[in-house]
Symmetry: none
DNA sequence: AATGAATGAGTTTTCATTCAT
DNA sequence: CATGAATGAAAACTCATTCAT
């Protein structure tokens, strides 16, 4: 075939060469942005750094996100979705005890959120959310409200089943989730001084909470 | 602004006049800085705004703090001390039950930290701590480590006295303090959508925790 | 957009299909460019806007004009020709009085230049001419010099015929054309505050000028 | 005097040394801005160039004018005032003939506006005014309306005195001023090709206009 | 020929910090 | 000590132009 002999000739049709594909590029930008925002906070992050880390030119960034704020929003949007969906589905079809489900819940949270780069999203929300009402609203709707609903549902079913006797977690589901915030920020802030065994802490938490709610094997 | 003009102040007949009082001015600067940093974060805060709010000229700021970072450090330093000192002293001389002390503890935290402008210090640590290791270190030493020690001491004494049977809070005192994080950020982030009754939540938390730890009236 | 799809067009049975017609496309670009340059000036005009208004892609622009400057030059070139050609021909064959010709002249200028989108060309020359010597030169050659020649010719013939007695307009034909400048910019600048009746002004001008030149019916 | 012997001592009170004085600095900025805007138009002008030419730092510019637009406005504001004041006062107290006053008028305009750097203000208004309604409004109020009023007053008095018989200039005072626009832009645009004797043109204009208005020595 | 995604130089504007008064 | 005008480095964002498809 003559094509093969001419180095300037177009590559065979299916070459995977150049053409990073908008979807993949968007991902690359968001991954880069997460790193940079996590390292420097919103105001401290430099768009040029995001671009460089995504392997693109500064101007290209603005083809995908209209400005720095939109980039931050995109970050939260894209990260929020997958976290809860699985848990909600799991809970709906779960046959075992509430103890077992809580163990599953915290294991999932630990591996998928708290011990992944996603933990920075949580930190960014805590840190900067107050200055980005639109993002806080979105986060409330997509993550917080759904998360609290799930926790309430867990608690309600446990009460129904007679597994527990207290409705404290129905009234304040925030108490169940609180250690997750600690887990998300501890290492970055104080890991140098004292490590925190997330697995151990969550296990102790589940026990403490269930016993505190009046746990009784059914 | 010059407090020596206050006619109600008790001053020796005629003092040298004018004495802006370095101590008071430092306070004014730190108060202003807390507001501004809380509103805009470290990078977003403008020194000029801090100066204006403190009622002084921009240049004067630099007579009290060598630069922006030093100002931030001063902020955390000054806010950290008073919160824990009282609690430590209270605990040392406390005669009542652990239940009563925990109630006291969370009430103090609520009024002095979580529902005061100081709550922003917590948020600032979350936001900027990773970028200011020196401040994070200081905060760990002066607040976190001391706080966790106190919580461990509480738990140890309760075990000793036979009030509780679990050492979970000795191993993970973070579990006791976790809801404070939620409390510090909730209103600013999600208050628009759902209010959170801090007093109620902390009460439920104390009950939940103690019962979870095997509480038994002694 | 593809004019060969127009069913009313008279075309030989089946032509090769698709033929966006470079000539028409060039026109579309120039029309779009006039709008955009008029609105934002040379530096302020965005090539993308020109492309969008011309209904083509940004890159296509560069197939027709090598760069922004060439586009501006093309604009002035194409707009300059038709204005004067007709007047020169009219004058050559004009049988009536100088009064009548001047009336004709200003009517033509009014409808074809001053009250048409072309008036922006004049404004653009004023605005950018000093920065684009090549365009100013072209404009001088194709419009200004020809225009002044025509005015001098008019004046010379009127003197010859004994219609007027002064050679002022021979020496300073700019005086004849000056109100056109005012007419071209007035509405855009001050139309909000005071309208200017162009027809009336030009009529008054012709009268004033002729009388000033010593007009006498022949 | 001891001061004289210590080189570090403050200089004698009246030293003209350092301290450019806000008023003078504002002037320097506006002078620089006029040059730069004249050379490059509004959009094409670079703030850095203005600063450099004014002999100050880029940031200092923004202490005097909040942004580029404000700088342009300042330019027009400051240049507009002095042009007309003198003429209005001169006219009020003028005893001679209208012919003499018009000669005076155009001489003043020529030396003070058209043959001075201020001519660029006129060009900038013609060129960019349409994009700066606020400035165009100001210019209309402070220059155009006042100028047209003056021209009308001149014409009215001449009619009253029986010096002229036409009210054309009362209805269209723009006709009187039109050559000034040509004069303001000619040299920059076409000076290379053809010089324009402003003094001669204005003299011819005054004659032409007065004769055109029915001039008759009184 | 036509497209439009990508580039990166270039521009405005901000703000921590200094320093002459 | 106090001031605030001046500085200039730094950052967000734009847009003419190119070039792979």
């Amino acid at each position: 075939m003559p094509d093969d002999l001419d180095p300037t000739a177009k590559l065979p049709a299916h070459r995977p060469k150049k053409r990073p594909d908008a979807k993949a590029r968007r991902r690359a930008i968001l991954d880069a942005a997460l790193e940079v925002f996590a390292e420097h906070g919103f105001t401290g992050a430099r768009m040029e750094d995001v671009a460089r880390r995504a392997g693109i030119a500064k101007g290209t960034l603005y083809l995908y996100f209209k400005d720095k704020t939109a980039l931050f929003e995109g970050l939260v949007h894209d990260a929020a979705d997958p976290i809860l969906g699985k848990l909600e589905r799991d809970f709906a079809g779960f046959e075992g005890s509430t103890l077992d489900f809580l163990k599953l819940l915290f294991q999932h949270i630990r591996t998928e959120a708290v011990a992944s780069p996603r933990r920075h999203i949580i930190r960014l929300m805590l840190a900067e959310g107050e200055r980005f009402p639109a993002i806080a609203d979105f986060y409330y709707r997509e993550v917080v409200a759904r998360g609290l609903s799930l926790l309430r549902a867990i608690n309600a079913r446990a009460l129904e089943r007679g597994e527990i006797s207290s409705d404290a977690a129905l009234r304040y589901p925030q108490l169940i989730i609180a250690p997750v915030l600690i887990a998300a920020v501890w290492d970055g802030l104080f890991g140098r001084h004292e490590t925190l065994d997330l697995e151990g802490m969550f296990a102790a938490h589940v026990e403490l909470v269930l016993r505190g709610l009046g746990w009784r094997e059914v």
